[in-house]
């Protein structure tokens, strides 16, 4: 009796049904994603309920926080504020302003993200290739994250505004992107380095037996095997670039972005308490949109890889 051809009875045996299995698995994953989304909405609903409950409770029991309508508007007041004119007599509603600002910040965050990813990848490749580079640079890469660059933002802007390279004048916008890139490059360089170093000694020996150049080894072996490490790092980098953008906008007061709106509307909190909440929603939406984009990229990059099983 041959026992070599015995397949796991749970999976399809013939190749013709592999395609069917793949589309079934995609459908299953889409369904799982949908279920996660429903749970997320339930979670948001829970937060809203708790918000209103706390407000209600504050009417009867003295709580350590201020639950008045001035500081904690009702959820429906927040939504109503979206439709109000941004500035007295203006045609723009608050919602228009927030959407425009969010979009502007999105562009900055995305720009910073791309730069950070590029720099991170480059650093990772260099550090993997040259041991001295890894030993010398990696501690600094790690230490770079203890430098609260977003706290340095005003200083960065000050320096940046002095720089002129030919006809290109550095504006505050570039400073914001620089800060976003700075926060984004670290998770990516660490993740990419781990990924590039991930191939087993056996695989490395295989490439060596083919007389592959270091360059070829990076392209054909190391880079593909680093994808599972790069993908989660991309998510962290994306989130970091969003945070960097918003906070840099806040501390530099640069116009056009959602950070600026947060500060402006926060100042108006005594006259129009609900506006700042709309701005906060904008900032949250910014983060979620970027996360969604990166998740889509993730799905695309890992489409041919085996799915991980967790315990």
């Amino acid at each position: 009796m041959t026992d070599t051809a015995i397949a796991d009875p749970q999976t399809s045996a013939d190749g013709a049904s592999v395609g069917a299995a793949r589309s079934r698995s995609f459908a299953r994953r889409a369904r799982n994603g949908g279920i996660s989304l429903l749970w997320a909405l339930a979670g948001v609903g829970l937060v809203i309920v708790m918000w209103e409950l706390v407000k209600l409770l504050g009417n009867f029991i003295p709580l350590p926080l201020n639950t008045s309508d001035m500081t904690m508007p009702h959820v429906w007041t927040m939504f109503a504020a979206m439709g109000e004119p941004e500035v007295r007599g203006s045609e723009n509603t608050v919602l228009d302003a927030v959407i425009a600002a969010t979009f502007r910040s999105l562009l900055l965050a995305f720009g910073g993200f791309l730069i950070g990813v590029a720099v991170g990848l480059l650093l990772a490749v260099i550090m993997q290739r040259f041991l001295f580079a890894e030993r010398g640079l990696l501690p600094f890469v790690i230490a770079s994250q203890t430098v609260p660059l977003i706290a340095l933002a005003p200083l960065i802007v000050g320096i940046g505004n002095q720089i002129e390279i030919g006809p290109i004048k550095w504006t505050t916008t570039y400073s914001v992107m620089f800060i976003a890139a700075y926060l984004a490059f670290f998770p990516l360089s660490v993740g990419a380095l781990r990924g590039l170093q991930a191939p087993t000694p056996t695989s490395q020996e295989l490439m060596r037996s083919y007389a592959a150049t270091p360059n070829q080894t990076v392209r054909k072996l190391r880079f593909p095997s680093s994808i599972p490490y790069i993908v989660p790092a991309l998510k962290v980098s994306a989130a970091a670039s969003v945070v960097g953008t918003v906070v840099a906008e806040i501390s530099t007061g640069v116009r056009g972005g959602i950070g600026r709106l947060l500060i402006e509307y926060a100042r108006q909190i005594t006259s129009q308490p609900a506006k700042v909440y709309v701005a906060v929603f904008g900032a949250i939406a910014l983060g979620l949109v970027v996360a969604a984009l990166v998740t889509a990229l993730d799905v695309y990059l890992t489409r041919n890889l085996p799915k991980e099983k967790s315990a």
Binding site: P148, L152, L155, V247, I284
Partner: protein, 260 residues
Amino acid sequence: MSTQTADRLKLIWPPVLIAVLFLSAWQLLVVVRDIKPYLLPAPSLIAENFFGDIALMWQTALYTGTTAFLGLVFGTIVGLVMALLAQRFIVVNNLVTPLAAGLAAVPIIALTPILNNMFSITSRTPRVLVTAIIVLFPIFVNVTRGLIQVQPVQLELMRSMNAQPRTVLRALRIPNAIPFFFTAMKVAAPLAVIAALVAEYFGGPQQGLGSRIAGSAANTAYGRAWAYVVAAIITGLMFYLIVVAIERWTTPWTGRTRSA
């Protein structure tokens, strides 16, 4: 010299060398090109400001560090409780995990103005709270993972020994989760410092590092501003190193190759 010392030196000299080269190049650049302090202060100027008023540096760092510490402790406790609940009740896990993933992507610090209003802006509370919220999520995600991802063979073993769920939690899941906890803490601790610092940009008491950095910059005292930055870096590093020390002391088995 023993091989252990030799090995340690081999790891230390490249970054030290690069640090020395970097600082020297920086100093040289400022002196030779006569760069004004508002553009880029020399390391010597920064050192002067830092050591010149070290008591003030310490006080300022202590203020922000305390905020960070309180937020870290509070956020960690809540995160741990939530992780235990999420492991025990799948509903909690399903509700909180997508939220945690979503919130990880958004600038939570943007909540500070709201918290400043809900709680008194003149107290530390809003800053501690926003720090706690920021710290909460890495802790929750990692510890939950550590509690849930035990090897199937270990679960079978416990079952074959007729262990009750509470015992499995105590004897298997929690010890398994400890390395995950420290991974999260190594991220959360410096993050708490940064969060406490940035939260100071939204107004309130001005004795912290963030306020002083911005204040010095506004007064064009750039040497001093950078000195505060150095203090901030040191504070973040201290938090990180303390976590690493606690980790080494309590879990000597991490970092080794795992047994079969």
